[in-house]
Subunit: 273 residues, 2 copies
């Protein structure tokens, strides 16, 4: 088992967004190695069906298993909402997603029992955030809003832009009108819009970033399973990055999110897994 503790954590996303989750794991669990996979050939997952997201996620989990990871983090809200529960039954290592950690914190944060959820169509329509939150408190109301333009706006780099603000108002104002006091950033790209969104909703609304909560949940999960790397890492850069397409473009975005220069990005044929 000692060998196992040294093994890397597998982290995957439909593309680059999950790097916001990887970043939190790097910050909060600096003794852990990471193998990250971004499905840049088939990104995005947000508008795709449950069956397809499940199929793609399974292929990625199979790939990560060939990398001998000790645990897997589904760093994609859509895959967490549509594929995680099925895949958990199929593998014998711990796996967590971003939905449950985010949902728990949101349920604890709300005072008036009205939570807003923004995310992709897949995430919002899955109803999984609502289900988990209502397990904690069946009185809590979760009001969802799919925001399909946020990801392309972030990827266009229009983070502090009047167009993005106008789009954000269009999506978020109906939630404010319904009196939410908590807002879940239910897509891994959205933390990059955090300061704009906080300004828009005002200080009285708590923003919940599942990326941070997921890193904390991973820490507990590893400890419970005696899988935390108690020996630390020797490498200066214990992170490996794989993609299904166009390593350069990934690297550019990765370098804008992470405080490292992302080396060793390797392209693989994910359809083979």
């Amino acid at each position: 088992m000692e060998q196992n503790r040294q093994a890397p954590i597998g982290v995957f996303d439909s593309g680059v967004g999950g790097l916001t989750v990887a970043r939190e794991i790097m910050r909060n669990l600096p003794s852990e190695r990471i193998v990250y996979f971004g499905d840049t050939a088939r990104v995005p997952y947000g508008n795709k069906s449950k069956n397809i997201v499940l199929k793609f996620s399974r292929q990625i989990v199979h790939f990560l298993q060939t990398q001998e990871v000790k645990a897997i983090v589904v760093a994609c809200n859509t895959a967490s909402a549509l594929a995680l529960e099925t895949i958990r039954e199929e593998i014998d290592i711990p796996i967590i997603g971003v939905v449950k950690p985010g949902a728990k914190v949101a349920a604890a944060a709300t005072r008036n029992k009205k939570i807003g959820l923004i995310g992709t169509r897949g995430t919002v329509h899955s109803g999984l955030y609502t289900e988990i939150i209502q397990e904690y408190d069946s009185q809590i109301q979760v009001i969802g809003q799919a925001c399909p333009l946020f990801v392309p706006l972030v990827e266009e780099g229009w983070l502090k832009d009047k167009v993005t603000l106008e789009v954000a108002k269009r999506y978020v104002n109906p939630l404010l009108d319904q009196g939410i006091d908590t807002l879940i950033l239910g897509c891994t790209h959205y933390p990059l819009l955090r300061s704009m969104l906080q300004e828009l909703v005002g200080e009285q609304v708590t923003l919940v970033n599942p990326a941070y909560e997921t890193a904390k949940a991973l820490e507990r999960l590893l400890k419970e399973n005696n899988l935390d790397n108690n020996q630390g890492v020797e490498e200066e850069f214990p992170y490996r990055f794989y993609v299904s397409d166009a390593a350069e473009q990934f690297r550019d975005f990765a370098n804008s999110i992470l405080p490292y220069d992302v080396k060793m990005t390797k392209q693989i044929n994910i359809e083979e897994y």
Copy 2:
């Protein structure tokens, strides 16, 4: 060869956008059967690499060949720009894309030899429109602008919206400042923004819609190869639609583009081809 003339035309796109091309073929070549494939599991292609777009396009061409199509139309600007020339060498039926027909008409339309091109990153950066246009007249300048937000805006249904207008100004005004008199709508979704774009650029700028030009080029290609269906079709609805994901969502969008109720949409596993 008579049997061959009755065979369908294969038309494919990364998703639903290519239906604007299928629509022009239906209008202009009513005696032809069509098998349409939309790669909705892996959409969009616009930001992806040449290698991945070529790989996906090859799989689709193999699938269309199992449907015994007599000719293929690449109804996607990105795939036309990045994959068509390679695939043409690999198959023995006629194949055309949307880039060349659009480029020819734009070259004929410009008077001041300044053409604007809007499209995906893949299409604009490929340089193929410029290359083809300059074969006609090496003096013509082509000014490209990638517009990655247009497809998600169209798919969100914000066709006549102040946000879309603001985004359009951001993308198109620099082209107007450089004095273009012709603008190529170099992505199959963009004809849905046609009226907004025409208003924005003014009547003195000619909009070129490659979808229409492609249908006319297909008509000539079929005649030249004695492949046009000179017996006509008996079926009331001689069109079949295949997708790689989520047939219902495709059908909704298809029904908004086509003047038919799209029946018989079938999902296939494109990775197997």
